[in-house]
Subunit: 174 residues, 2 copies
DNA sequence: ACCTGAACACCGTTCAAGT
DNA sequence: ACCTGAACACCGTTCAAGT
């Protein structure tokens, strides 16, 4: 006899996002998600192929969250600072978005504003390479910062602003 | 009655490195390492605190492997290319080295040549920020490349060389 | 049509018992 | 002093049985 679903893909994705935030990627288990949506773990497989697929959904939701967060900002400097602010507030989400576990399309959509900013600074010939320069730097910098890789002291904020200034100048001059 | 050790920290670390290479970080289990050194998993805890510590040792070994690989290269361009070559040949090692799971000292030692190259291009005032600009870009670029994040087509090699050229010019001009 | 309990094959880790 | 088997608490995943 058919019975109505007691949960949904949206509820599962939202629960996954909340658990990612509080317990990290390792804490994002099928059992934890199931408990949060009020169901037993095996039931999740009626909505999701496996854990990897669930993680992918959470990654896409995080990428969309990032995209809306970037909406208010403009220009290379503004976008880079907004990205860093968001990453600092949601480190697990940031790592997941840039780990390649989500769908490439959604990740590309989140990166579109930065691509546009690069295009406005540089000629059309190198716009893609310029966008890759900027995104690689920004995500690399923030990843290292979150990983605690800046061990040699100095002012990390200053280094970030230095990067913005150097890249802006370099792209303008090219 | 005292018995001689049937394995060693070096053997365990080497086994971990080999498994990381072939089966990835998820395949780097206590059982897999134990089997490879000819012992049962619980015995590993006589040599290593827990799995995290073992992963840290493997990360440090990978960082030292990277350091020796970089020895032949000089200058920002040469070092960046050597880093990318090594990362492409050993993606799991690269990710582990820059994930912050190893000891900060060893990771810093591996990054020292790049820091030196930056220092030679830029004045002493901004040498640390310049080094962080270059390492953030290089590791970010390679991470994105390994994650398959460059979805928009175009020539990835060209984008890498473009980054080298822009950063070199920017640091020289400052 | 969805949910559940039970089961399976795996983890990391602890610990008493062997040598 | 090191190694082992057995055990514990967890994983992800499958599947027959319930409703």
């Amino acid at each position: 006899m058919p019975t109505p679903p007691r949960t949904s893909l949206d509820a599962i994705t939202a629960a996954g996002g909340a658990i990612l935030e509080t317990r990290g990627l390792a804490g994002l288990t099928m059992q934890a998600v199931a408990q949060r949506v009020g169901v037993k773990a095996p039931s999740l497989y009626k909505h999701v192929a496996d854990r990897d697929a669930l993680v992918g959904l959470v990654a896409d939701a995080a990428a969309q969250d990032l995209a809306t967060h970037l909406e208010g900002s403009e220009g290379l400097a503004g976008l880079a600072r907004a990205l860093r602010t968001w990453a600092t507030a949601h480190p697990a989400r940031f790592r997941l978005v840039f780990s390649g576990q989500g769908s490439p399309e959604v990740a590309a959509a989140a990166g579109a504003p930065l691509l546009k900013a690069a295009r406005e600074l540089v000629g059309p010939t190198h716009k893609l390479s310029a966008a890759r320069l900027v995104t690689a730097w920004a995500t690399g910098f923030i990843s290292m910062e979150l990983a605690g890789a800046f061990q040699l002291g100095g002012d990390v904020n200053e280094a970030f602003e230095y990067g913005i200034a150097q890249l802006t100048a370099a792209l303008r001059a090219s």
